[in-house]
Amino acid sequence: MAKAKVAFFDFTCCEGCQIEMTNFGDAAFLELLNHVEIVEFREVMSEKTKEPIDIALVEGSFTREADRKRLEEIRNRAKIVIAYGACAATGGVNALKNHMTDYKEDVYGKDAGMPHLDSQKALPISAAIKVDYCVYGCPMDKYELLRILSHLLHDKEPVIPNYPVCVECKRNGTICRYQEGDHCIGQVARAGCGAPCPADGIPCEACRGFVDKPNEKALKKVLIEKAKFSEKRAESKSRIFSANLRSDAQ
């Protein structure tokens, strides 16, 4: 098969997902390069092309109207667009500000009015362009990215779980956080990460966003009744990574 032309782009994010790519290690990364040709990757190379690309990997959320044009250009050049990382896929942690109005003053103080700090709501890039696949997670799971790329190279539909993290957590034989008097929101979080957080004894924060139909009402109830959260804390718990996926999304 001919090598697929792949390009990386970034928008509003911490670039942590690009760093995660470098964690593949040299051997794995070089093996990957036998199958794809990277034509644009700001973090590691200076070339920029306007050529058509097979797969565009977009990181970061859509937070300024001014970015729409660049996103559209990417879409027009690419056969397949993959949103990778929570920011691009769901708005991620950036969307934590979406229900507030005073975030700029809060964060930047007297500089809040500077023009380069202007941004609107943090949205997934699918709010601007059509996205074909998402690699969820903050940071994304590099093996999931590989799995998706691999399926696409073989012209197969990648399988992205639509079941909660609990499935993987239970398969691991992990003790449920609730059985240790803690809390967790893995019951509404999209699996695919292999449930590493509960395995390490910390709650799942749903960094991969929600399953398609999260039971938010039941989550609030369980957080109050079992984890002894206040109503307010239970209500806002899932905002950290999933603000745009909640039924009260702004």
Binding site: L32, H35, P164, V167, R171, C176, N215, K221
Partner: protein, 343 residues
């Protein structure tokens, strides 16, 4: 061949040590305040006083993820490679469950990915010393005896009675200083196992047959199932921890070289949203259990009614793992079944 032996408390430890040194022995071990089946590194690891394990012992024959075929270009080979192991300290309800999965994986298409591992295993049961908080094994499928195991250990005064059930169980006797058990010791062991049956914290009040019939009739009570499933997360925890659940999903993955890879199966869960989603071809799909109440009902139907005909008893052995695993605490079969029976 059925024989009864006795071994003293002290010699029992040496017996386990001797086995651990020359065989792969899997038994209940502590994981913080819970228990799991794991490979014993020493006799001290073994915790026959466990209440229930997080995952059932079926994972030893049917692991949560299992490679079935490995391929490279157009060459492929099966992954069946059974490892001989001793499962030591399996409670009777899990023995019943293994007997069910044995039959389910054998019927129609024999599933050798399971059966090869199963046949390479020796199963030694043990009596229940501590009762878990959600157990109801004392009142479920009472007329279905545990079978298919190779031996059973019961703790009595001063030591253990070991009853063998065939060659595999008999083959372990050489690892310990066993004496023939006296009639009194065998009687004491029987009493220990009988007495514990009345001690579960939860109870079903009707026979399996009555339950199977009435639960089936409750199928069309839609509002009833909707109310029960209101707090369901479709998280599948109740399936994943269940010793009699046997569904799996199969996926292919390529290695980095993109020419070799494996076909792997994973434990699946019928409570999850996409479990019953099937392809109609051309990218179209159909989900024949789209609502969470339908999926919630399906599990109860399977456990209490549907599988009864095939297995001659309920496909639930009363281990209470699902009840403990469900964060919304709605999965407990006792609550659901008793509600139906009282209606």
């Amino acid at each position: 061949m059925m024989n009864a032996y006795f071994i003293t408390e002290k010699d029992f430890k040496n017996f386990v040590s001797a086995m651990v040194q020359s065989l792969t022995v899997i038994g209940p071990v502590a994981k913080r305040k819970k228990f799991v089946f794991a490979k014993l590194e020493s006799a001290e690891d073994l915790r026959l006083d466990y209440d229930v394990t997080l995952l059932p012992p079926k994972k030893e024959f049917f692991p949560p993820s299992q490679d079935m075929v490995r391929f490279e270009k157009d060459k492929y080979e099966g992954c069946i490679s059974p490892q001989e192991k001793i499962l030591l300290g399996v409670h009777f309800y899990d023995i019943k469950a293994i007997d069910m999965t044995d039959r389910l994986f054998r019927e129609k298409n024999e599933d050798w990915n399971y059966l090869a591992n199963r046949e390479a295993a020796t199963i030694i049961g043990s009596n229940i010393q501590t009762i878990s908080e959600r157990a109801f094994w004392g009142t479920v499928g009472k007329d279905v005896p545990p079978k298919g195991h190779d031996g059973f250990i019961t703790k009595i005064n001063g030591g253990y009675v070991y009853e063998t059930r065939g060659d595999k169980g008999e083959a372990l006797v050489k690892f310990g200083s066993f004496a023939k058990a006296t009639d009194a010791q065998v009687k004491e062991a029987r009493a220990v196992n009988e007495n514990v049956m009345g001690k579960c914290p939860e109870k079903l009040n009707r026979s399996s047959k009555e339950i199977a019939e009435k639960v089936r009739k409750a199928f069309s009570k839609e509002a009833f199932w909707e109310a029960l499933a209101e707090d369901c997360f479709s998280c599948g925890s109740c399936n994943i921890v269940c010793p009699t659940c046997y569904c799996f999903d199969v996926q292919d993955n390529w290695n980095l070289d993109q020419v070799s890879g494996a076909r792997t199966r994973y434990w699946d869960a019928c409570l999850t949203e996409d479990f019953a989603k099937v392809s109609l071809g051309g990218g179209a799909t159909e989900n024949f259990r789209e609502e969470r109440a339908e999926r919630f009902r399906h599990r109860i139907m399977r456990k209490a009614s549907y599988l009864n005909e095939k297995l001659g008893g309920p496909a639930c052995v009363g281990c209470g793992r699902c009840s403990a695993a469900c964060t919304s605490d709605i999965a407990d079969p006792v609550n659901v079944i008793n509600k139906i029976m009282e209606a």
